[in-house]
Structure formats: C-alpha cells, structure tokens
Amino acid sequence: MDTSQLLKGVLDVAVLAVVADGDGYGYDVLRRLRAAGLDDVGDASVYGTLRRLYQGGNLTSYVVPSDEGPHRKYYAINDAGRALLERSTKTWASFADTMDAVLGVVRGAAA
C-alpha cells in the first residue's frame, strides 16, 4: 500500500505534533518526521504544509541567524495550533480505532 497517499491526510497533524514537541525550521521538521518513521514524506509537502498552517494562524514563525549557513525560519505552535492538534488527534484516534475494527474483522475472519 502506498503510504504517501495515507500521509496526505495526516500530514497536518503530524507536522503540528512535531512542532508542538519543539520549535523547528523546515528541514528540521522534515528530519524529525523521517526519524519518527514517516520515510515517505515528501520534502515539498512538509514545506508547503508548514506554510499553510502558518498562514492559517496555527503556527508562528521567527528567523534565527545561523553561524554556518543561511538564516533559518523557525516555526512554533500557538494556542490555535494546539487546539487544532487536539481536535485532530481525537479524530485520528477514533478513525484509527474504526480502521482497526474493520481490519480486525478481516484478521479475525482470516484467523
């Protein structure tokens, strides 16, 4: 199954969760998502999602000068973002339960 299709639906909540865990710039968020196991996440998708969440008022941003390279635009979660994350987490949990149930039926039938 192509996980990149699944990712499209849950990337928002995944990005929000990573940023809620700690402020990060685009490439940093990307790396943390991959490190968490989302290997198939697309670079441009992460950058685009960060921008959309920022424009939607769910993230704030600030620029940090860097010694070795370019200035980095960091994102931080705000109250609106935290509320969205909470709602999305509940939605995901109930959706995952539902899917587990559906798949459990199949697993049970197969067993």
Binding site: Y27, G42, D43, A44, S45, G48, T49, R51, G69, P70
Partner: protein
C-alpha cells in the same frame, strides 16, 4: 533574501520559479524563500537527487500549501508553452546555473549604475546638448546640481535595492519597470552620444586622402569668392570627376570656431593658380581667369574682357581701388 546556492540548486530553484509563475507575486516570493532554504539544506545534506523534477516538486508544494494547481498548464497558448519549454531547458543547463549564481554579486554595481542612469535620464529629458547629459548629467543646466542629484540618486537606488533584498515587499513589477526604463534611456543616450564626437574624431584621423587637397592637408571647407573678393552665393561646385560637392548641412552640431578661418580672403583656386587643380572634365567648371596672387590687382584685367560684349564703357575706376593690400 537570495542565498548562495550551488549551480544545480540554483537551476532547480529557477525551474520551480517558472512553475509558480502564474501565482501572485507575494506568494511566489515567499514560497521561493522557503524553496531556497530547503535547497540549501538538502544540498548540504547531499539529498538534491532525492527531490525529483522541479515540476513535480512545485506541484507538491502548491498542493500542500493549499494553493491552486498550475493554472492553464494545458490551456496555455501553444507558442507560450513552447517558449516556456525552451526557457526551462535553458534554465536547467549548467552554465545558466553558474551565471545565475554569480549574478547576485553584480547587484550592488547595478544599483549604483541605476542611480546614475536615472539622473542621466532626467538630464536627457531636459537637455540642450548632449554635453549636459554625459558623462556628468546636469540638472537645470547646472553641474553642481547634477552631481548632487547623482549622489542622491545612487544612495536612493542602493537603499531601494537593499530594502527589496531584505524585505521583498517593494512591488516587483515597479522595480522591473524602473530597471527597464533606465536601461532603455541608457541605450538611447549611448546611441546618440557618438554623433557629436565623430565631428572631432574625423579631423585628426588618418584616412586615405580623398577629395581636394591644399598645402595644409585635406580641404574641409570651401568658400568661393569671385575675383573681387566677394563671396559667391547660389553656386554649385563640382569636383574633378564632375560630382557635385554637397554643401555641409551644419545646423545643430557644428562647433563654433574659436579662431578665424582666414585672415585674408581665400585665394581663388583654378587651373592657373598656385594650388590649382588639374583640368576638370566637365564644363560646369568655369575656368577662372589667370590671376596673380594678389586679388585686387586683378580687377582691371577681369573687367576688361566683358567690355566688348556688354556696356560700352564700364570704367575700371568705380571699382574698389587697387590698394595692393588684401581686403580684410
């Protein structure tokens, strides 16, 4: 802000820029900031090869950012699409990437030049002669004002360029318009400027001699006088080949002479004179009478000839008296 990127990364960014061209300027500028940051990080990470094609990257970025998919991709006028294709090919070449990576370093130079050229444009608008335009543009015909305006314009232009680089909020179209107008004016001035210098350059230039030659070199001006020293008007001069000598049209650009051309009325030149021509081919040349070197003494002899044909007794006495010295 433009980052220093490797040529490959720069080419990728430019190709993505082309894919975003249908979006509003502000969106493009902000998206490209992110793209540049991303490409810099990915290049440092050795992951440029993982990014796929610029078109796919741009499509993914737009979708994730909640922007509409590329408009008119299939609807664009076929020639437009073809030109875009050529541009994409050019922009993906290595040399384009290198030039593009190097170009930002030239920007401060252009900002200075732009300030200067803006004042040149202003001076060109109101100039009386090109000397008031280049190299130092005058303002209201005043050098000092021109220098002050130039200094001010350069400072302003640099500030504008830096502001745009820092905040990217100055309307891009306005900057492009100013740049284009400035470049066009520069072209117009450069195109006109040589016309005035040619007049001076040719005098000293060593071209193979053509035309008339006197004892001091090539003859540049011909002032025909009759045997009595009166200027001849309404005549046409011909060279030895029978070609008409066109009078020089000298309305706007001829410099005023600061020295007199001749102290004395010029000597007639004819077949018999000291600096005479060889025999002309065609009749338009009316041979001058044989003349000695001092003009006024000739008068009696010249007038003696028509005596037989016209009036019976035109006396030589009413004529200016031969004094033996040339007229002033």
């Amino acid at each position: 802000m433009t980052l220093m990127l490797t040529p490959e990364a720069r080419a990728f960014v430019d190709a993505v820029r082309a894919e975003l061209a249908d979006l509003p300027d502000d969106d493009v500028v902000e998206l490209l900031e992110d793209v540049e940051q991303h490409l810099a990080e990915a290049a440092a990470d050795g992951r440029l090869g993982d990014l796929g094609s610029p078109a796919a990257y741009a499509a993914e970025l737009r979708a994730a950012a909640g922007l509409p998919a590329r408009a008119g991709g299939g609807h664009a006028w076929a020639p437009v699409r073809r030109v875009r294709g050529w541009l994409a090919v050019v922009m993906s070449t290595r040399w384009y990437g290198e030039v593009r990576a190097f170009a930002p370093e030239l920007r401060p130079g252009w900002w200075v030049l732009r300030g200067y050229l803006l004042v040149v444009a202003l001076a060109y608008w109101t100039h009386h002669s090109l000397r008031e335009v280049v190299p130092i543009p005058h303002v209201s015909g005043n050098v000092l004002l021109g220098l002050l305006a130039t200094a001010g314009a350069i400072v302003g232009s640099v500030a504008w360029g830096r502001r745009r680089a820092a905040y990217t909020r100055v309307p891009r179209t306005l900057t492009i318009a100013v740049n284009v107008v400035t470049a066009l004016v520069a072209l117009a001035v450069l195109n006109n400027a040589p016309h005035r210098t040619y007049h001076y350059d040719y005098v000293g230039a060593s071209y193979p001699p053509t035309g008339l030659h006197g004892p001091f070199g090539q003859v540049n001006d011909i002032y025909p006088y009759d045997a009595e020293g009166r200027p001849l008007v309404g005549i046409q001069l011909y060279d030895r080949s029978g070609n008409a000598l066109a009078p020089q049209v000298c309305d706007t650009y001829c410099p005023r002479l600061s020295f007199p051309l001749y102290d004395d009325p010029p000597q007639p030149i004819g077949p018999g004179s000291k600096y005479g021509m060889q025999t002309p081919l065609e009749p338009p040349w009316v041979p001058a009478p044989v003349v000695p070197t001092v003009v006024p003494t000739v008068v009696p002899t010249v007038k003696a000839t028509p005596k037989a044909t016209s009036k019976p007794t035109p006396k030589p006495t009413p004529k200016p008296k031969p004094t033996g010295t040339p007229r002033k």
